[in-house]
């Protein structure tokens, strides 16, 4: 028995030594070129909104810097053949005296000393055609099952959609409602998960390209083109949360997107998923000629959600 214990101890010591030796780490040098900053253009020109472009520098991943604004850029846009130069700058945002309209064709030119000229272009999509949503809770239990149901009338064209829900509590800042229970004062109030969704459309049971990422639906109209279709999102919610819209506010956001915005958003969301830890690092799509970021049109509709009880209606 004593020999056995000694043997095990010896083996354990050997293994521990091997494991200790095995975790060998050392710092690796890198080329100085890899530390050079890039100009980053970020802009989602939005239908019926003043147009602005956000310009920052990238940072080397080992530098604990903030993203510095680009303050010496010359920025201009060309809308349907008319050129506008940025009128003012607010931090990193270059502002234009132009309100984007549906179907505008917009091209961008950014010139920063010491960097190549950056150009890109997009089209501003029209607002999503849809009916206001219905949000209902249908049980008597304290934690209730609910649905948010809305119908999109898809125009006969190539369209891309992005659907998510914003929430805030007691007048605080709006945040995207994530796939978890909202916790307010340590009480769990509501749970929303886009994984649980249904699509109802004539002769169609699912939408091609429909993806659920971080509680957002991103999809194309590839197989529902020019149809009216109904989307149902399911959720769970405490009765008092649903009954108190002032304390707990929820807004359904539906965006129609340009093709560039769709591709960028899709790749950003995919890169943040758990699967990305097992994948090769991938470069996020950019429609800019020699820079990073995105310049892509979107159009947004927002619908505050008011939850109704089925049992109340029945009463």
């Amino acid at each position: 028995m004593k020999n056995k214990i000694s043997f095990i101890l010896l083996l354990s010591a050997l293994l521990a030594m091997a494991m200790n030796l095995a975790s060998c780490e050392k710092i690796v040098d890198f080329d100085i070129e890899q530390t050079e900053r890039h100009v980053v253009v970020n802009a989602f020109p939005m239908c019926d909104s003043l147009l602005f472009v956000n310009l920052t520098y990238s940072r080397f991943f080992l530098d604990n810097q903030t993203f510095l604004p680009v303050d010496n850029a010359t920025v201009s846009i060309d809308v349907n053949g008319t050129t506008f130069t940025s009128a003012s700058r607010n931090g990193a945002n270059y502002l234009f005296n132009y309100t984007a309209a549906a179907n505008d064709s917009v091209s961008l030119r950014v010139s920063v000393p010491g960097h190549d000229v950056i150009v890109g272009g997009t089209r501003i999509p029209d607002f999503p055609q849809m009916l206001p949503p219905v949000a209902e809770i249908d049980t008597l239990q304290p934690i209730t099952q609910g649905n948010i149901i809305f119908t999109i009338n898809d125009p006969d064209a190539e369209n891309y959609y992005y659907v998510y829900i914003m929430q805030r509590d007691s007048g605080s800042r709006w945040n995207q409602w994530e796939s978890k229970w909202d916790t307010i004062d340590t009480v769990r109030h509501a749970y929303f998960n886009c994984l649980n969704h249904e699509v109802t459309a004539p002769e169609v049971n699912s939408i091609e390209g429909l993806m659920d990422y971080f509680n957002a639906l991103l999809f194309t109209d590839a197989n529902i083109n020019a149809q009216n279709y109904e989307l149902t999102l399911s959720l769970m919610m405490l009765k008092d949360t649903a009954q108190n819209p002032i304390m707990h506010e929820y807004t359904l956001v539906v965006e129609s997107m340009s093709r560039e915005a769709f591709r960028y958003t899709k790749e950003v969301l995919a890169s943040q998923g758990l699967a990305s830890y097992f994948a090769e690092p991938a470069q996020i799509y950019s429609n800019l000629s020699s820079g990073l970021g995105i310049f892509a049109g979107i159009a947004r509709r927002e619908y505050p959600l008011t939850f109704t009880y089925k049992e109340q209606e029945e009463e």
Binding site: S12, R59, L68, V268, E280, I298
Partner: protein, 821 residues
């Protein structure tokens, strides 16, 4: 003259008689001129009776010869004359025999091992590399492979082959195989002629081949003979031992991580033999008390471990000298298990079981029959399976109390991937005369693929509400793909004259899947021209097609790697390879070769940017893209196969690129990028020295340029969906930032080099012998890169970031003990 006689003969009876007489006279004259007879038989080891593959049987007077085939048989047709035969093989004393050939002869030979003779037989140990028409093929004696210093004292066939030029390892310690710029799935591993899908154990640190069970290994890197097909880059043909037909023998060994047992011998008579080998790692047994001691509490118990095992079995029965039956079986598996029992409350227990198993099963039966002395036949029926299964089981049990009734729930989740192949094939070797060796045959394979199936099963029971139970049973992506593979080939190894020899053939393959049929016609050609004594030039071309892919996300061989077939949406991969080289045998010194190659590959498959096997409801076909690749390089090899000092020096200069630029399928924005294991330089030096019959030493040194890796060295702000132009930037990136890499595989890891040494101490006892192997891996403790990662550390002193290299194997001594009886 013939036509004239024929013309006359049609007119008169006398003419007809004259024609027949003339024809008979000519045929008889022709037969007399070409009076030949065939010597056929087999060559075996004199001690074990094991058939020997690749033995040279040569008539020294005419210079004509033949090699024994995979069953140890040969056929040599020669003119009637006095014959002076030499039968020679690496490591064996040659046999000479002179006789007059006047009829077809059946002759079996037994060769005596030079180890047994305790002498060095220089002449017999030469391999005629320069004379063979085949190029880019390497046959390394299994004893040589076993003598290479090893990791954890575990001899590994695949890792020894990685030391040859043109063959690259993946990362440190990995038995992944990358041949001439090809991917890990482009290698055909044959175990007794049957494909083996997964050849890795322990995430790739060890291969599935137990060297105790292996008799012969041949690696083809290009210019493939027509009877091989189905993969783009290489064929590794492994033949296992038939078993000793004289008496029961065996060996048992124990190493740093595993124990092995090999038994072989006759069953009742010499006609039937068996060979049985088994291997299992045992760290899980030894560490169990430690795990128990460290983890166990009253409310928490943990059992966890990892092991792998493999079993090889072979039964051989000789009906007659002309007829033999072989039955082989292989089973190997890796298992990771974790069992956690938690006492959540006094009345509630929770059990969490996590099991991952992956491995192969191969079973085959082969009938080898000598139809005529010139025609050999092999009929094979085989089954091969690869499967991996990741299973999670969670159970809760709540006992009944005064407040509540008993409750129980059980949740199972399984992720399964599986391939089943049923194979039927017939192969023939025909030797019409000493100048031709014709091979032909065909095969049929019925494939059943289940690339990915996720099962979820929930069963809840409560005694509270009328003994109610709740059940969910569902499967996701449960797709079964059935495919049929067909293949036929014909090839000829033709000695045109003493200087020129060619091997030409054609392989006709087809794959039927999802109502689509992909036919391919694959020509193969290789040839050599002798320029002088021991000096030859060779060139070859091969067109290869592959009907299945391995979807892999990491450099390590993981059970999550998926074997998937071509489908109606995914086209077959194909490759063209040309190679040329010079071969020189310098008598009594060494053999030298220089080979250059260029390979063009199409329809290669990769996961899309950001996609993996994991975490998406998309099927695998939606996660992949197709592209092209090309590779070229030069390989130098100097090897010495005889004498006390043996080994080789290999050098490879190579480049391997990929491009995925098809519309909608771009990787790296459609620009070319280096393949994952693109490395410019690989050097290996392998030396073995036999001091005396009791001690031999060996050493290896390897160097390779750094592997490519993708690193994102810049970060930038993520665009926000905001309509508020007064919302300033998010300077800290709290709202999200993105990583930027300048391209796929944009970073080079530091160079890799390492030296290993080993010594074998043999001792002969009365009834047995023992060998103690002492080896040291990574002798000078080089910190070689396994992976590079970005480190971000926030402490009270501030922020510190760095690029960190992780090395996994420092200097590792090990000991293995083998008892042979």
């Amino acid at each position: 003259m013939i036509f004239k006689t024929l013309a006359l003969g049609t007119k008169t009876k006398t003419g007809t008689k004259n024609f027949l007489l003339t024809l008979l006279f000519m045929l008889a004259g022709n037969m007399l001129y070409a009076q030949t007879y065939t010597i056929s038989g087999s060559v075996t080891d004199s001690t074990s009776g094991e058939t020997l593959i690749g033995v040279a049987v040569m008539d020294l007077r005419s210079g004509k010869g033949a090699l024994t085939n995979a069953q140890g048989r040969f056929s040599l047709t020669l003119k009637s004359d006095t014959i002076s035969l030499r039968i020679s093989y690496v490591g064996y004393k040659p046999v000479f025999e002179t006789f007059v050939l006047k009829k077809n002869e059946k002759r079996n030979y037994s060769l005596q091992s030079s180890i047994e003779l305790k002498t060095v037989v220089v002449e017999a140990q030469r391999v005629d590399n320069a004379k063979s028409s085949q190029m880019s093929a390497i046959q390394v004696p299994i004893e040589r492979l076993k003598s290479v210093p090893v990791l954890f004292g575990e001899a590994d066939l695949v890792k020894a082959l990685q030391l040859l030029p043109g063959v690259q390892s993946g990362s440190e310690g990995n038995s992944g195989f990358y041949v001439r710029g090809g991917g890990p799935d482009e290698n055909l591993f044959l175990l007794d002629g049957v494909p083996l899908y997964n050849v890795s154990h322990m995430g790739g640190f060890f291969s599935a081949f137990n060297t105790d069970a292996v008799k012969n290994v041949t690696l083809y890197k290009g210019s493939f003979p027509a009877h091989y097909g189905g993969r783009l880059s290489s064929v590794l043909d492994v033949t296992t031992n038939n078993g000793n037909d004289k008496q029961l023998h065996g060996n048992a060994s124990i190493g740093f991580i595993s124990a092995k047992l090999n038994l072989e011998g006759p069953i009742k008579s010499e006609r039937t033999t068996f060979c049985l080998s088994g291997r299992r790692t045992y760290a899980d047994f030894l560490l169990q008390p430690l795990v128990k001691r460290l983890a166990d509490r009253r409310e928490y118990k943990l059992r966890a471990g990892y092991y792998f095992y493999d079993v090889n079995g072979k039964l051989t029965h000789r009906f007659s000298d002309r007829s033999r039956l072989f039955a082989s079986y292989y089973m190997g598996s890796d298992v990771i298990y974790t069992r956690i029992r938690t006492l959540a409350t006094d009345v509630q227990e929770q059990y969490l079981n996590f099991d991952t198993r992956w491995g192969n099963i191969v079973a085959s039966a082969r009938w080898n029959y000598e139809v005529t002395p010139k025609l050999f036949m092999n009929i094979t029926g085989a089954y091969t399976r690869y499967s991996n299964n990741v299973g999670v089981k969670y159970e809760t049990e709540t006992l009944a109390t005064e407040e509540q009734e008993s409750q129980a729930s059980e949740f199972n989740m399984d992720y399964l991937s599986k391939i089943n192949d049923f194979i039927l094939k017939a192969d023939f070797d025909f030797t019409p005369n000493p100048d031709h060796l014709v091979g032909f045959g065909s095969s049929f394979t019925h494939h059943i693929f289940m690339p990915e199936v996720a099962d979820a099963h929930l069963n809840a029971y409560s005694a509270d509400v009328m003994n109610s139970s709740f059940l969910i049973d569902t499967s996701v992506n449960s797709s079964k793909i059935i495919a049929e593979g067909l293949s036929a080939y014909i090839e000829d190894d033709w000695s045109i004259n003493d200087a020129v020899k060619i091997n030409y053939g054609i392989n006709l393959s087809g794959f039927a899947v999802e109502n689509v049929f992909y036919p391919t016609l694959q020509p193969r050609l290789s040839g050599r021209v002798m320029l002088g004594e021991g000096l030859s030039v060779k060139a070859g071309y091969a067109y290869m097609t592959q009907f299945m892919h391995l979807l892999s996300t990491t450099s390590v061989s993981m059970p999550t790697d998926l074997w998937v077939p071509v489908t109606k949406n995914i086209a077959p991969m194909y490759a063209h390879q040309v190679a040329a080289g010079v071969f020189y045998e310098m008598r009594a010194i060494a053999d030298f070769s220089v080979e250059a190659y260029y390979k063009k590959m199409s329809n290669l498959l990769e996961y899309k940017d950001g996609a993996t096997f994991f975490g998406s409801s998309e099927s695998w076909e939606e996660k992949v893209v197709m592209g092209d690749g090309w590779a070229y390089g030069v390989e130098l090899l100097a090897q010495r196969n005889f004498g006390d000092l043996t080994g080789w020096i290999g050098y490879t200069w190579s480049k391997s690129m990929r491009q995925f630029d098809r519309p909608g399928q771009e990787i790296n924005n459609g620009d070319p990028f280096p393949a994952k294991y693109d490395r410019r330089h690989d050097i290996s030096i392998v030396l073995s020295y036999k001091i005396n019959s009791k001690i031999d030493l060996s050493a290896t040194w390897v160097f390779s340029s750094g592997n490519a890796a993708t690193l994102s060295l810049q970060e930038y702000a993520q665009a926000q969906h905001s309509a508020n132009e007064y919302a300033d930037i998010d300077p800290e990136g709290w709202n999200g930032y993105l990583s930027y890499s300048s391209g796929r595989n944009n970073f080079r890891m530091p160079d890799y080099h390492r030296m290993d040494i080993s010594a074998n101490f043999h001792r002969q006892f009365r009834h047995c012998s023992r060998t103690i192997n002492v080896s040291v891996y990574n002798l000078y403790n080089r910190k070689n890169p396994y992976m590079i990662y970005e480190s971000h550390e926030h402490t009270w002193k501030g922020y510190k970031g760095a690029l960190v290299q992780l090395s996994i194997f420092p200097i590792l001594p090990s000991v293995a003990y083998t008892l042979k009886f």
